[in-house]
């Protein structure tokens, strides 16, 4: 465990890709602390030093040096440096460098008021066809039930399982309103917007169970729209998949 100072109280980072975010947060906060400490000491000194009881007559000219300009330029430069060195590359990695489907665990997560549904392909690794025209009361995701993959696929509500140290590729969408998929210990967040399907990726680095929370107001149950991601070993993961996928011999379904 790093010291509180080094983590700023952020939840322990259990992901492989989250370091960039943490470094940036830390770097910006150091900048902030330094600036604030400098300014506030100057500020308190001035309030004390130039109290009217000490300086009955004000100085018309005040400060003549232009040190502040250098300071302002410096702040701008540091911000620019952070931007170029940390912020932009991290974001580029986040949204541009997607792992291929082959090397990752692929899950489709569909948000709904007020629940997370993870749609797994099952033992054969193929997703069933889905189309809005199939949507009905008993088929919210619009699965094509005549597709052979239908039997393999299953849905895990709220509690998901993924293997450790392997990228997880999530296709995120929503049935009704905007939600936001946020798992802070895994340093990942992305809005789930109805009508659009976004990919997002993260790589767990530690076994354990992590909470997912909904980070976008989505109605009366928003505060309780909780889920978990359980990170397990690859073997346990395969076992779990087999257990759940009907055509793979498991319990199956989960959507009816």
């Amino acid at each position: 465990m790093k010291s509180l100072f080094a983590t700023l109280g952020l939840p322990h980072d259990a992901s492989m890709q989250g370091g960039g975010t943490d470094n940036l947060i830390l770097a910006v906060h150091i900048l902030m602390f330094v600036l604030f400490a400098g300014w506030i000491s100057y500020f308190i000194y001035v309030l004390f030093r130039f109290h009217e009881s000490r300086t009955p007559k004000a100085d018309y000219e005040g400060v003549k040096s232009h040190a502040s300009t250098f300071l302002e330029v410096l702040v701008a430069l540091i911000e620019g440096a952070l931007l170029i060195a940390l912020a932009i590359p991290v974001w580029a990695r986040t949204v541009d460098k997607f792992p291929s489907e082959k090397e990752s665990t692929v899950v489709r997560i569909v948000a709904q008021q007020f629940q997370w549904n993870a749609w797994y392909p099952g033992t054969n690794g193929m997703f069933v066809n889905a189309d809005p025209k199939f949507v009905a009361g008993d088929n919210l995701f619009g699965f094509d039930k005549s597709d052979p993959n239908f039997k393999y696929n299953f849905i895990a509500a709220s509690d998901f399982v993924v293997p450790n140290k392997k990228p997880v590729l999530v296709y995120l969408s929503s049935l009704d309103v905007i939600h936001s998929f946020s798992c802070r210990p895994l340093r990942t967040m992305q809005d789930a917007i109805p009508g659009i399907r976004f990919p997002l990726h993260f790589t767990p680095n530690e076994l354990g169970t992590y909470q997912i929370n909904c980070a976008q107001l989505c109605g009366s149950g928003h505060y309780a729209m909780r889920g978990t991601i359980k990170v397990v070993s690859q073997e346990d993961y395969d076992k779990w998949i087999a257990q759940r996928s009907k055509a793979g011999g498991g319990a199956g379904g989960g959507y009816e």
């Binding site: 997607f98 296709y171 399907r197 990919p199």
Partner: protein, 112 residues
């Protein structure tokens, strides 16, 4: 300029009236032309749009320039209108730009 009973002014205004009528006729012709261009196929829809909206923009310019006498207006007003135009372009431009497929995370690759 605000004193209405001025001989020279009155001539100028009369000239203006004539000019305005001409412009109105021009505008009406422009309208007929847009109808015509929109029904003619210039090869591509984009070209059609450009031509039709081009005429509309020209008409709007005439209205602003002459009916709203913007041509002889003060600098200050130009200044404001330029600012407005900039912000309008920014609003429209960036909003549209951000919704271009290549600017939405991996839009092309992953659409169902």
């Amino acid at each position: 300029m605000n004193n209405p009973s001025n001989e020279e002014d009155s001539k100028a205004v009369k000239k203006h009236v004539q000019q305005h009528v001409m412009i109105a006729v021009g505008l009406a012709l422009g309208t007929i032309m847009t109808v015509w261009t929109s029904q003619t196929n210039f090869g591509s829809f984009a070209l059609n749009v450009t031509i039709t909206l081009g005429i509309a923009a020209a008409q709007a310019f005439m209205v602003a320039a002459f009916f709203m006498h913007l041509l002889s207006e003060k600098k200050l007003i130009y200044c404001f209108l330029i600012f407005t135009a900039i912000f309008f372009v920014v609003m429209m431009g960036i909003t549209l730009w951000s919704r271009m497929p290549e600017n939405i995370i991996h839009y092309k690759q992953y659409v169902p």
